[in-house]
């Protein structure tokens, strides 16, 4: 609507000025610092999952990791909308969007255009596409609030929504990221930690099958560090998958993760 256009240049959000000073917290070579939410370096935020968040969808899930809040709806399998060629396997269509107020600065969520195709790739390998030929499954995600590690949360939440919709999958897909801050590897970083990271590693896997479906690394990593980072993520993914499974079974959906 008209409210969006043009206004951004003439106004500014007051928050950036307050952020600048905080960089001191993460002194690069300082080993001992405390994370802003008091967690240990290798401790994830408490994860909360809930399925069936959206009534009109075939399946849906809501995930909350600290301040990161995501809703994913799954529609289908349904008729492919576009006039597409015949396909004997199903199609997966993904879309990720942000609310305008999700980010500290209004409308920053538009920067994440690549998430839609990345989500597609992360899920594609886990879904048994042969089970719904000629049709499309739509996976739509909306980030209500961005509190760091958004994309891993979206992926995990989407796989839960797919399970809720009864789409056949080889395994649940769980995703976790670590940030490299100075000498430390910090799991499940919050927004602030992400903005000062020297490197990041995001791993998506199917824990029961012990297979990695998506891996993205940025920044400079030596081999031992890479091994360490991957191992931390794999362990965390396994735990996360347990929480997700518990949520699907309807038992005790909140668990503290360590």
């Amino acid at each position: 609507m008209a409210g969006k256009g043009g206004a951004t240049s003439s106004t500014y959000a007051p928050s950036p000025t307050t952020q600048k000073t905080k960089s001191l917290i993460f002194g690069n070579n300082d080993v001992d610092w405390v994370r802003s939410d008091g967690r240990e370096f290798h401790q994830c935020r408490p994860a909360f999952f809930k399925t069936g968040a959206v009534n009109c969808a075939s399946g849906s899930a809501y995930a909350e990791f600290g301040n990161t809040k995501v809703i994913v709806s799954v529609f289908g399998p349904r008729e492919s909308k576009k006039a597409m060629m015949y396909s004997d396997i199903g199609r997966l269509n993904c879309d990720v969007s942000y609310t305008t107020f999700a980010t500290p600065v209004r409308g920053q969520g538009l920067d994440h255009k690549e998430f839609s195709s990345m989500l597609h790739k992360a899920l594609e390998g886990a879904i048994i596409l042969d089970t719904f030929p000629k049709t499309t499954v739509d996976v739509f995600a909306l980030v209500l609030e961005s509190g760091g590690s958004d994309f891993p949360v979206i992926i995990s939440c989407a796989s839960l929504a797919l399970a809720d919709a009864g789409i056949m999958m080889y395994d649940l897909v769980a995703s976790v990221s670590v940030s490299c801050l100075g000498k430390n590897l910090v799991i499940d970083p919050v927004l602030e930690e992400e903005s000062y990271q020297d490197g990041s590693l995001m791993l998506t896997c199917m824990p029961s099958r012990y297979e990695v479906t998506q891996l993205t690394i940025t920044g400079e990593w030596s081999t031992p560090k890479l091994n360490e980072g991957m191992q931390i993520c794999l362990d965390a993914c396994a735990k996360l998958a347990e929480i997700m499974r518990a949520c699907l079974k309807g038992t005790n959906s909140t668990l503290e993760e360590s």
Binding site: S117, Q197, D198, L215, T218, G219, E220
Partner: protein, 324 residues
Amino acid sequence: MKLIISEMVGLSIGEKHFIQGGIAQDIRSDGRKRLTPRPINVKTGVISQANGSARVRMGATDVIASVKAELGRPTALQPDKGKVFINVDCSPTAAPMFEGRGGEELSAELSVALRHCLLGGKSGSGLSSLLAIVSQWNVFESNCRVKIWVPLFVSGAGIELSSLVVVEGKICWDLYIDGLVVSSDGNLLDALGAAIKAALSNTGIPRVNVAAGASGDEQPEVDVSDEEFLQFDTSKVPVIVTLTKVGKHYIVDATSEEESQMSSAVSISVNRQGHICGLTKRGGAGLDPSIILDMVSVAKTVSEQLINTLDSQIAAAEAGEDES
């Protein structure tokens, strides 16, 4: 993307078996071994209007990268850093499917992968902690312009953003790196990575003299020199090696026919020290974590070779250009 590529190539069942079987037996359709890349051909300075440009050919894959520098303002969050934008376009000349908006999906995918591999993080803040070392200035004269070599890129993961600042918080260089896929026969990401590296080494950023006296909120006046250019030392810019998994094995520098048979591909950017500077995985199929680590170590050995070839090619191309 996998789907579209395989549709485009349109192989018969026999041909598919031939490709897969060849890879399993370590002899590919064009006679290469699994880990042998195609010969690489680099030409620099192909776009005279850009600050730097290069054209890289690997077999039938042909890409052009250009670097344009424009003066801009640093962001409020990072007043001590310049900005680098990487954008890739797929020309319809490469394949009819890129016509109209058809190439956008692939273009976006390549742009994001390159940003991950070269810029080190979404915010572009990757590895900026290393200091920019200004080493000795090798001044030599070419035909008309004096080149002053200052290694601006020192960090391992690609591009040192703090070296692009002219006046902190006021003026910085914005580097627009544009890639164009002219002809496509697989392994576009590696080719684009190599082209960007070559284009950066060909780039001359005009020296900027800042007029003294400007203070406060005023935008200082600058004088952009036509004669003095700063150049980047690109020996530390990483190269990208994509390992494509076909069947049980993985290959480097896959052609588009081989890519159509892939189950997954891992693109790893490695610098001269052998450190990983970025990694992205494409293709849906899952991979065992140990295979990924194995791929990483293979990528390191392959990258050494690639960096050496590329560096000598760049040097040869630059020498050729200076003579002409």
